[in-house]
Symmetry: C2
């Protein structure tokens, strides 16, 4: 089994631009990527590939293999799956609340496919036992799409239900989850820039 993490540093996380500059967002995604890699390693995953359209931010990457593919996310991942000769787990790079326990549970699924839903219809992680028999389609309501692709091709699937693995960081409100539930370098970075704003409704974000 091997893991692959799609990653792009340049102008990353544009939906965080109301609260973080481009430079900050680029620094932040690199911290999150490293945290995800450390989590996978701690869970015992030995082969970790980073799939990126550019070497930007990955020049000194020692912890994982860097594979360059300038194509769109889906095309690049599907080419990766075609060539894979063992089960593959795809993790998004923006999951700072992911723990080794989550990773171990996800990869120990008994099903052909295990899908970890993210906020707003996304897919935060996707375990594929037989990569020659599955193609991904990220963006939009990819969670539903990935369930359908499994069902339509006769592969059984499990939905892995986790608040923390389900928290991908795209919008300012997601930083609140990181401040409340997180730890590690990505949390420390956001901790230096924001504090939580407590009101009667959901907690918000105040710049420091």
């Amino acid at each position: 089994m091997k893991a692959v993490i799609p990653f792009k540093k340049a102008s990353a996380k544009s939906r965080l631009s109301p609260v973080l500059t481009r430079e900050e967002r680029e620094e932040f995604v690199e911290l999150m990527l490293n945290q995800v890699i450390d989590t996978l390693k701690e869970a015992g995953i030995e082969t970790i590939d980073i799939l990126s359209p550019s070497m930007y931010g990955l020049e000194n990457m020692k912890k994982a293999n860097v594979l360059l593919d300038k194509d769109d996310l889906n095309e690049a991942l599907n080419r990766y799956l075609e060539q894979a000769e063992e089960p593959v787990i795809i993790f998004m790079a923006d999951l700072p609340l992911l723990s080794p326990k989550h990773v171990k549970e996800i990869i120990s699924t008994k099903k052909d496919i295990c899908i970890v839903p993210g906020k707003g219809g996304g897919t935060n992680a996707l375990f594929i036992r037989d990569p020659s028999n599955y193609r991904v389609r990220y963006y939009g309501s990819s969670f539903l799409t990935h369930c359908s692709i499994a069902a339509d091709s006769g592969q059984n699937f499990e939905i892995y239900d986790s608040f923390f693995a389900g928290t991908d960081i795209d919008e300012p409100e997601d930083l609140v989850e990181l401040l409340i539930h997180g730890r590690g370098p990505a949390k420390d970075y956001i901790d230096r820039k924001f504090k939580i704003e407590v009101s009667r409704g959901r907690v918000g974000l105040i710049p420091l």
Copy 2:
């Protein structure tokens, strides 16, 4: 063990007012309440109390006991806990993705307290083994508060990690989760009013 669900129908869910009228919101919260009650019953919980400041919307409630308390949520719940003589589990009424499996797992905790985090720092469910020894403080970052209250009083606690039990319905974007992951009357109601809007980012909501 008994369950209590705080509930208020009048002008409920004001943060959904950009997409639902007051009448619709009141109808919707009643559907969600009934769905939560059915889920608890299916999980085998026999005593279910609804704690409400008014009988409005509860005139014909047969499935659960209605307790009136005009006080604030926290005061009413703490009075309830003071009088309880057995373990109590508090569920919010806006959890339409909650399943009997979640409920069974939460109440089978080995710890003194089990906390189910909700979005934005909230507490979606709270199991309290010894209610005479615990007081709640909802609103704001209640998740952190409820962890502290347990720790400060020497009670050990578990955090129950679930995307679905963690999805409370307060904001329009939460309706997207219901459309994607839900089933039952609350989902059917929202299905008749909206469809999901698929773009490159998170899925949005389009009125029908």
